[in-house]
Symmetry: C2
Subunit: 200 residues, 2 copies
C-alpha cells in the first residue's frame, strides 16, 4: 500500500528486477515515465519487446544479429583469416571500440566453470572447430578473462585445435596502461616480468 | 554499428533516455533481458505501458490513483481533518513510510519557481482552497522543501488560506537526527536555535 497505486507497484516490481536497479531507483524511473510524454514509454516498451522477440544469433559466430549472419561476419572489410574468441557479446563490443582489430569473432557463450556447472558442451566449441576446419583461418586469438576459468577454457580449446594448422595466440596480459606499479598485484607483476617484451 | 544489431541499438537508445542510466548501463540491461526468459521482458514492457495508459490522478488530492479517488483519500482509517501539502507524489511516499502521519494529502504538482517559469497558476492551489472551503479541515501541514522556492510557495498559499479558520503549520526544520553539530550549515543551525523547543 506504500505506492497508493497497483500500477506503480507492478512497474516498480518489474523495473527493480533488472540488475543494479533497486526499489528507490525503480520508483524514480516509473515516476519519470509518468511525467514525460506517453510516446517515450511506448517507445521504450516496444523497443524492449522487439529486441526480445526479433533478435537472432549469427549462425557463424553467435554474435547478436538482425539476420542469419551478423554485421561483422558480413562486413567485407573484415579479415576472415583471423578469429578472436570471446566469452560473450559485451566482449565483442569492448574489442570493437578499441578499433585495433579487423578480424572476425567467435562467441563461446560462457566459460568453462565446473563450480557453476558449465562444461565444454554448453559452449559453442563445436562450431568453432567446424569453422577452423572449413574456413582454415590463419590465426585464432583468445581474448578470455585472465582467470582460472579463462585459462581452463583456453587450455581445453587449444588442445582441440592442435590437429589444425592454425596459429593460436592470447591477448597480452600484464600491467594495465596508466596503472602504478606499486598498486599492481604480485601475480600480474610476476607474470609481466616473465613475459617481458623487447623494447622497440 | 558498434552494437552489431539495430534492435540492441534501439533498446539502448530508449533505456539510456531514462534518468541516471547511461549507454553502458543501458547495454547491460538490454543484454540481461536477452539472457533472461522472454516472459520477464514482456512483463516489464506491459507493466510500463499499463502504468502510462491507465494511471489516473486522485480528483481530491492529485495523488496517483487506480480509480477516481486514491487509496489514501478512500481509506476510512485516515483522519480527513488534517491535510499535508506536498510538492509531489514521491513526498507522499516518503511521509507514509515514516508511519507518523494519519491524515490526508494534497499534491501541489510542483513549487513556485519564477526561474523555471512555474507560477502559482500551474499548481493545484485552487483545488486546495476548494477542499478547505468545503471540507473545513482542522489543520494544514506544509511539508515543502526548506528552500527559497518552498518558502515562497508556503508564503503564497498561507496568504490565500488566511480567510479560512484553519490552523497552518510547517514540518519542523532544524538539525537532522544523527548529524553532527560541527558539520551542520550555519543557516540551519541559526534557525534551529531561534526555533528551539522546550525540553519535555
Amino acid at each position: 500500500m506504500t505506492y497508493a497505486s497497483k500500477l506503480i507497484e507492478e512497474a516498480v516490481e518489474a523495473l527493480s528486477a533488472l540488475p543494479g536497479i533497486g526499489k528507490k531507483t525503480a520508483l524514480r524511473l516509473a515516476l519519470f515515465l509518468l511525467k514525460s510524454n506517453e510516446a517515450q514509454t511506448e517507445q521504450l516498451a516496444t523497443s524492449l519487446q522487439k529486441l526480445r522477440r526479433e533478435i537472432q544469433y549469427c549462425q557463424q559466430c553467435h554474435n547478436v544479429a538482425d539476420q542469419e549472419l551478423c554485421s561483422i561476419c558480413t562486413n567485407p572489410h573484415k579479415d576472415p583469416s583471423v578469429i578472436c574468441v570471446v566469452e560473450n557479446i559485451q566482449d565483442i563490443i569492448a574489442v570493437e571500440i578499441t578499433g585495433q582489430y579487423r578480424g572476425l569473432y567467435h562467441v563461446l557463450g560462457g566459460i568453462i566453470s565446473p563450480m557453476e556447472g558449465i562444461g565444454p558442451e554448453s559452449l559453442t566449441i563445436d562450431t568453432l572447430l567446424h569453422r577452423v576446419e572449413n574456413l582454415t583461418p590463419r590465426e585464432i586469438i583468445f581474448a578470455l578473462s585472465p582467470t582460472i576459468e579463462g585459462d581452463t577454457t583456453l587450455f581445453y580449446i587449444a588442445k582441440k585445435l592442435k590437429p589444425y594448422p592454425v596459429r593460436i595466440t592470447t591477448i597480452a596480459r600484464g600491467v594495465a596502461i596508466g596503472s602504478q606499479l606499486e598498486y599492481t598485484d604480485e601475480v600480474t607483476l610476476a607474470r609481466s616480468i616473465a613475459a617481458r617484451t623487447p623494447y622497440q
